[in-house]
Subunit: 205 residues, 2 copies
């Protein structure tokens, strides 16, 4: 036996899912991780909505026509997909495969329902649930300029339902107002710890 065989393995790429209820700060957290320059592959979501001013195809979103999006859904090219306010959103499997092949850890931002789908397709995925207090979530929703009061009300009504799915996740990370960097540090610690697991999760999609 060569002792070094037992442990000196190339770290396997991880599939990290950042999820949590509406307005908990999933986008903000992923944005901050990018700014800090971590060497992860950040998955870009596909959508059939029109690009907003300044948005770049392949960076902010993959922008497809509704017909093209529905074809991808039908042919199983999306890891998960959902309809949010009549807009389709989903994660292209091909992008995740390429990211894993590159040897980098893959980070994706998925809503609570989508995270369950990812787990069923990739049981080795590491599911992280961001949380904040109800007051914080409602406060953030009310300050959102992009939502109408009706949309805000719908989102608030879903918060309880979403929070109750916490137990389906592996880790819970608080993302309280003004504590984004602490939340990022916890996510980084989780990723580092997962790389030290003796029984590593093998990612195949």
């Amino acid at each position: 036996m060569n002792i070094d065989d037992l442990y000196d393995r190339t770290p396997r790429p991880l599939l990290i899912v950042i999820s949590g209820p509406t307005a908990v700060g999933k986008d903000a957290l992923v944005k901050r991780m990018k700014e800090l320059g971590y060497p992860f592959h950040f998955v870009v979501t596909a959508t059939d909505r029109a690009p907003r001013p300044g948005e770049v195809h392949g960076k902010d979103y993959f922008f497809y026509s509704t017909a093209e999006f529905q074809r991808m859904e039908r042919e199983g090219e999306l890891l998960e997909h959902a309809v949010v306010y009549d807009q389709h959103k989903g994660i292209p499997k091909q992008q995740v495969r390429e990211a894993i092949a590159s040897g980098k850890d893959v980070v994706m931002r998925v809503d609570v329902q989508g995270a369950a789908t990812v787990r069923s397709l990739a049981p080795e995925a590491v599911l992280i649930f961001l949380v904040a207090s109800e007051e914080e979530l409602v406060g953030r929703l009310r300050r959102r300029d992009t939502d109408t009061p009706e949309q805000q009300a719908v989102r608030i009504s879903k918060v309880h339902e979403e929070m109750e799915r916490l137990s389906e996740f592996d880790y819970v990370v608080p993302n309280h107002d003004g504590e984004l960097d602490q939340a990022v540090a916890k996510v980084i610690a989780i990723i580092e710890a997962e790389h030290c697991r003796v029984h590593q999760r093998v990612v195949e999609l």
Copy 2:
């Protein structure tokens, strides 16, 4: 339902076991963690060997007579115990109970056999296995002044056997020559990640 009830829990104390083969640097790692001032409770091992110059009872070891040590063994007061070169070593349960009651995470340094015992008694313990290459382990043993050549030979002969128990552990952390601080950082990340687990490990002894 109060949403905050779902996640704003007081972190439960963890039982962290630092283990690994002979000469892998278990003592050095725990010493460095103490120097860096982490707020853990570091468990002190009990022994029936005589104190060396400068060693303090309750700090370096709990020094007991052989008769007292055997009484503790008999009456189940030790979490684990082993005979190493005719010297008894063991971990007093009472000390671990007090540490857990204090709310701090408990860090203990245990040999590979002892770690299996800790797991059987406390399944929620987090078992960390330090590793280095065979060349590094043998080199460190040869440089040890405290061991006779015969003791070194016995220790080297046990390295393979000890390494093969890696799969009984939760995490593996490399502790290569000159990389002690990297090893400490990984252990700290593991502890931080374990505190974020949705299904927390409840420690009771």
